[in-house]
Symmetry: C2
């Protein structure tokens, strides 16, 4: 855990370790792209970051902790972006905007997002992070559905349940498409948008 800085307080100069920590995460992300999670070893990360295995363990307790920190960093990004998004009231526009934003997210952070999804089962901490992220999306989708006239509630055919399934549809479709190419991601987004629109009762 990067359970450092109990109070980030005011520190004039940046600790050398803070830079290292960032370097480690950057290296980890690069290696994740090159060789994937399993093949990537703690020694690889340390070497890439220009330190010894022993030194790396000063920062993180395990490979899993490194990746968890990387996911946390990325997910933080998503949350910020999510907050910063202007809320539209017109459902059709809201849906279009959401899909556009999601495509951007997957284009920028696809690798780490896929990793997070893959490790959600194995690494509880990552599962927690991703689950919270998904909830954000589900809440947003639910809001749009309700504004479009879908009955609120958690029963199978009500907004909340539908939003959950739609969220998983988008996650999974993008997960696969983002492994292919930008084009397929773009096409996939159109398909998802279409199904979302229909589900909201806003069919063309």
């Amino acid at each position: 855990m990067s359970g450092h800085r109990p109070t980030p307080s005011r520190r004039t100069t940046e600790r050398k370790g803070d830079v290292r920590e960032r370097t480690i995460l950057d290296t980890c992300e690069a290696l994740l792209a090159q060789k994937g999670y399993d093949a990537m070893t703690v020694g690889d990360i340390a070497q890439g970051a220009g330190i010894t295995r022993g030194a790396l363990y000063f920062y993180f307790g395990s490979k899993q902790e490194v990746v968890t920190a990387l996911v946390a960093r990325t997910v933080e990004h998503l949350w910020e972006r999510s907050r910063a998004t202007a809320q539209t009231n017109e459902p059709r526009q809201a849906i279009a905007a959401a899909m556009r934003r999601t495509v951007e997210l997957w284009n920028e952070h696809g690798l780490v997002m896929r990793t997070a999804i893959d490790l959600s089962l194995t690494v509880p901490e990552i599962g927690e992070l991703w689950s919270r992220t998904a909830d954000l999306f589900i809440t947003a989708i639910t809001a749009v559905l309700e504004r479009a006239g879908i009955q609120a509630g958690t029963e199978p055919e009500q907004a909340s349940a539908m939003a959950r399934s739609l969220c998983w549809m988008i996650e999974r479709t993008f997960y696969h498409a983002s492994q292919e190419s930008r084009e397929s991601l773009q096409k996939a987004s159109l398909t998802c948008e279409h199904i979302w629109l229909i589900s909201a009762g806003l069919a063309a």
Copy 2:
């Protein structure tokens, strides 16, 4: 790989090894439920099957191969069931039947199916098996959509693309729900069925 029996020919007695092999897979499945893939060690499987690690390596070359064989065995089951399903022509009935069948599959084989999905990235062989299984579903969904009047084709808003996204929606929704309980699986299936119906233009 269990690439044995080039011709199952007539063998009066069953090889002792065939029984062992099955025992190993059963043990593997049990351990997968108990401790999960990562925690499960080759030694655990061997012990559970009543043999030594060394002996297990006579049957399978690695932990991954054991799990791959287990997935193959399960997936075989799915394919059989899939073939055996009576084809209904009325879309509404076809959808209902498909969802009923899918619930059964996840209730019976949820654990292995989740494992297969999780390992699809890491173990190419499993990825291949699961991808072929998904294609089966996608084809089936596509057929229903087309029979319901959705335009055929692979463009974003045509049957094939929609079927793909719907398939991922079902996979992911069931993946999560099957970890919860039978009830949530049942509810999830109703939600998915609803969205599928709407997407097919058969809204209630």
